[in-house]
Each structure stands twice: as C-alpha cells, then as structure tokens.
Amino acid sequence: MLLLIVYKIFDNIHWYTSMLIFSCEASLSLDYLYYCKVKLKCNQIGLPLGNLNNQLSPLFFERNDNGMILKDASMERSAKTSLIQRISLAVKRDWQLYVLLLPALGFIFVFCYLPLYGIQISFRDYKAVLGITGSPWVGLKNFRDFFNAYYFKRLLSNTFLLNLYGLLWGFPVPIIMAILLNQIEWPRFKKFTQTIIYVPHFISTVVMAGILYLFLSPDSGIVNTLIKTLGGKPVHFMIEPGWFRTLFIASDIWQHAGWNTILYIAALTGIDPELYEAATIDGATKLQKIRHIDIPHLVPIVVMMLILSCGSLLVSNTDKALLMQTPGNMVKSDIIGVYVYEMGLSKAQFSYTAAIGLFINVINFIMIISVNWISKRLGETSLF
C-alpha cells in the first residue's frame, strides 16, 4: 500500500511538471493574449461577463481558425475553454468537493506556503523592527557566511555521518526481523511477538532520551551498576563524544526497527501460499525457501526503500539530537538542525539560519528528485 502511494506521488509530480510546461506555452501564445485583451476591454466598458463568455468564444475561435496557429487549433481550443468556462463549470459542478477540501488547504497554506514566502529573509538582513519586506537585501551574504563558517565542515559531516551510519546499521534489521517473524510457526507466539515489537515506537523521543539518561547515569544507572559489579570503571556515556552516534543509532533501532517491519511483513504476506507448498513438496528446507521465495519477493521493495532513504541523508533528526546533546558530546552531536535551532531561536540570527535551512532544503529536494529518477529507471529495467 505504502509503495503504491509513493509511486502515485511521484507520478503526480511528473504529471504536474508536464502540465506546467503546457500551460506556460499556452499562456505565451499570442492568441491567448488577444483573448485577454478583448475581455479586459469588455470589462472596462461594463458589459456583463457571464453572457460575454459565450458570445466571445466562437468569435475568438473563428479568428483562431483563420489565424496563424492552425495546426495546434484543437489543443489551443481546449486550453482556452479551460481557463474561464471550465473553471466556472467546475465550480458549479464540484463546489461541494472544493468545500470539503477547503479546511485542509487552508491549514496547508498557513503552515507550509506562508513560510515559503518568508524564505526571502535568507536573502535579506532581517531586523524585527523593519519586518520581513522592509529589511534590506544582502544577496547571498548569509550563504557565504555559512560556507565560510568555522563549523561548516563539522556540521555537514556530523549530519551526514549520523544518517549514513544509521542507514548502514538500521536498514537491514527490520528486513531480517520480518523474514524471521514470517517463519515463526506458532501463531500465538507470532502474534505476541508482533504486538510487542511495535510497542517501543509509541514511546516519545523525550522519554527515549530520558531512559538513556537514567539507564546510563554514571552513579545510579543500571548499566554502570552492572559495569561496576563486573569490576569495570563507570562510563560517562552521555558526555563522551565517542558514544553519541552509537547510542543515537542503537536507541533508534530499539525503538523503530520493529515498527519498520510492517512494510516488509505486508510484502511477505502477499506471497502466494502455493509457492511455499510447491517448495515443501520439492523438499526445500526453510533456509532454501527464504533464499528462493522470500528474498526475491522482498528485493523490489527493499531497493525502493533504500533509494528513498538515500534521498534523505542530510535530513536532521533535530528532536532527538537536541535532547541527547550535552556540552561534552558537542563535537559529534552538533548537527545542522540543532545548529539552526540554537543560532536561530536562542541567538536570534534569523536571516543566517533561514539561509542554512534553505540551503539544506534545496539539497534535500535535489537528492529526492534525482533518487526518484534513478528508481524510476531501475523500475523500468526491472531487477529480475
């Protein structure tokens, strides 16, 4: 199901870009400009528009048929009718659906599209008294500042490496778990296991970080108590930078690996049982069934997921890194999201941090699009 959705989303994007190109061409054509001019004239004179649309269109098409762009006449016609007539027709027919969409569109507009307008402050020197549009333009100064900043390399590599190691360690776990879960033969144990492995996903990030602080505390934490009874010295896990990535990734796997099996289990459940029966009759062992039935069935979705997660290698998990950051482990825990939060909101460097955010967003966007392009190519050439 999820896979289908992802495909649909990308299809839509593809469709949209082609539509955008088409409508640009249409609006650039002289005929369309002429049409607008006539309409504008009528508006000025004060003629009622409702009737005019019907009267104007044939007139306009006549001119079009005799005019210069004859070969594209049918295409042009549909484009032109779509502009005014089709909108009014659509509103008349589908207004109820638009009303149902309106609240969702409103929220998306306020919380996603208004901030896009606010992006301009990354090219300005934002001062609260001058407001967003009143602050002076400074071009690419904020971006240059970031590239030349002392922390630039550290931030970028910390963010990238945290995600890369997270992917290397965390990606295979749910796949292995799904395959082995599928092999449990005792239904009750299977159901119980499935229920339990989802539970940690519902623990909040704050509580997860709290558990780490409590369990790993050097004086009262259970882990250090164990180390002490075995004769070792207590480790300051949350302060030593060397432990940051290990803890971050291990706790992520503990929390979400079980949940992430859902997708793969769904794929495995979709396998035709007859395949297993045939394999059993032919004397295949369980390992052979995994090797020759399960894994080939999982490959497409695994490749898809892998490619998608490669597209988000520079996305920061700000929530969690902010919680796990201590003065001691800054060298490893300082990632872009946390830096933006600290500099932007605690030190009020709005323009500078907005520029960092924009830079990272653009990179992520490019990565997602190119990764999607690759996956499409792979999908067409088919892996097996």
Partner: protein, 306 residues
C-alpha cells in the same frame, strides 16, 4: 500461517532452524521488554534500593512515593491536563479535516491533479523552521493555545493513506446508487463514506494522537507561558537533560526554599523520574493496544489490494 497447507515430517535442518529462530526471538523480546519492565519496577521501588542498584528483576521494598511526588508536582499535573486537551481537540480536528479532504481527493473533479500537487509538494520542500517561526509570529499565533491545536493539523502522508484507502475500499457503484437516490457529496460522505471507513479512522486517530501526545518541539519553539506547556516539554526538563545542579531539576525546583522538603525531594526525584515516564507513556501504549486489531487489519487490507 503461510505454509500450513501440507504437513510433512520436519527435516533435521528445519528443526534446528526453528530452534535458532525461537532463541533469536526470545532474545529480541527480552531486549525490548526488559528496559520497559525495569522502568515499571523501578517506579514502584524504594528510592534507596534504586540508587544502590539493587533493583533487577522484581520491585524491591514496594513503595509509591515516586507517584506521590509526581502527583504532588503542580506543574507536571497541569501540563498533563494541557496535553490531554491538546491531543483530544487536535486529533479530532485533524481526523475530520483529513477525512474530508481524503474523500474529496478520492473522487474525480477538475483541478484535482493541481490540488494534489499542492499537498504533495509540501512533503518535499518546506520553508524551514525559521521562516515558519517568523510567519507564525506575524500571524499572532505565538504563545497561544490555538497554535498548539492547529499546527501540523494536516499530515499529507496521512491524507494520502486515507485517500488511497477510500478509493480502494469503497466501491464507486455505491456512489452512483446514492446519487440516484438524491444524495450529494456531503450526505454521501457523512452517511456512506464515514461509516465504512472505521479502519482508516482508527489508524488516523493513532497516528495523529500519538504524534501530538509525544511532541515536545512545537511547544519548545512557540510557547513561553509555562502554564500552557504540554507534558513532554516539562518532562524534558525533568528527565531528559543533563542535570548539573539541583536547581535546574524540575523535581527539585518546586520545593525551593523548603529545606526539609528539598532533601526528601532529592531522594524521591530519581524514582519520580521513572514514574513520570510510566504515566506519560501509558496513554499512547493503551491507545495502540486498543486500536491494534484495526491496525493490523488496515495494513493487511492495504497490502492485499496494493
């Protein structure tokens, strides 16, 4: 059971595989359950036993003073109620708005592709934290309860899941029949689509509800008035920060000036942290357990048709 169709005598290799697999799962289950179990037993043990590291498998010197400390903590209690309020109102609003939009997107109408794009684009490109912060400031949403309820109201991912569910599970013939009987989109949505979408509504409730309950970052960015803070933000101060001096610890600061209460509070604080983890996590887990049957069904339905 995928391969219960034919019963055959197990080979040695298969038996070995089953044993290894069972051992694997017992270990995995232990790794997942033990930390959770430890939190529960530590929360009902005596503070001294927990500090001394004597609690391992079973509560030691059973006591509830940790819970007393938590329930005596005014700020924690108020933030708990705040969180309940934000979660209930926010989730209700989210589910209603998402279902309305998901139904509309599951039908054909002109401009659908464009509106689809408006939604999907936000998944891939956003203004970022700072521009959003400034725009919300401009709208006067800073430090308001309204913001806590309507921010992140529509998750495009959930919207797409709901749309796919509706268009796959509710036959178009039903719509045609309803139109014949004089229904319009509103009546059809209320009387046919909603009653048939129990599964997806349950899934949405869990997704939205848990996300809201567990969110601390929004309040950290936008809320200054401490009486409006949700539970997770208070919890962050209490358990998820490196405490260097006692004054920064939320469990102590409530007792400032009261020396006797203070020493007692320091003793209680550790156990109280475990208790606050329990009381903050229980609602989300209960919601999951209650909705779990719907959940598995929803995933399976989607996978079969997809």
């Amino acid at each position: 059971m995928a391969h219960a169709g034919i019963k055959m005598k197990k080979t040695f290799g298969d038996s070995l595989f089953d044993i290894v697999n069972t051992i694997f799962w017992v270990i995995v289950l232990f790794i997942i359950i033990y930390p959770l179990w430890f939190i529960i037993i530590a929360s009902v043990s005596d503070p001294d036993a927990v500090i001394a590291g004597k609690v391992f498998l079973w509560p030691k010197d059973f006591s509830l003073i940790g819970y007393e400390a938590v329930f005596g903590h005014k700020e924690l209690l108020r933030s708990y109620l705040n969180s309940v309020y934000y979660t209930l109102t926010g989730t209700a609003l989210s589910v209603v708005v998402t279902m309305m939009a998901a139904y509309a997107l599951s039908r054909n109408f002109s401009g659908k592709k464009f509106i689809n794009f408006i939604f999907v684009f936000t998944m891939f490109f956003s203004g970022g934290l700072i521009p959003q912060f400034l725009m919300n400031q401009k709208l006067g949403l800073h430090d308001t309860v309204l913001l806590m309820i309507i921010i992140n109201c529509v998750s495009v991912w959930n919207l797409m899941v709901a749309r796919t569910y509706i268009s796959m599970n509710i036959p178009n013939e039903l719509y045609e029949a309803a139109i014949m009987d004089g229904a319009n989109h509103f009546t059809y949505f209320i009387h046919a689509v909603l009653p048939l979408s129990g599964t997806i509504i349950a899934v949405l409730c869990v997704y939205y509800g848990v996300a809201r309950w567990n969110d601390y970052f929004t309040a950290l960015v936008y809320i200054r008035d401490r009486s409006k803070l949700p539970l997770q933000t208070i919890l962050r101060e209490a358990i998820a920060m490196l405490t260097t001096s006692t004054s920064t610890d939320a469990f102590f600061s409530a007792y400032e000036g009261d020396t006797k209460g203070m020493t007692e509070a320091i003793r209680k604080a550790l156990v109280a942290k475990y208790c606050s983890i329990v009381i903050s996590t229980v609602p989300a887990v209960i919601l999951y357990i209650l909705m779990q049957n719907y959940f598995v069904k929803g995933v399976m339905l989607g996978s079969l048709k997809g």
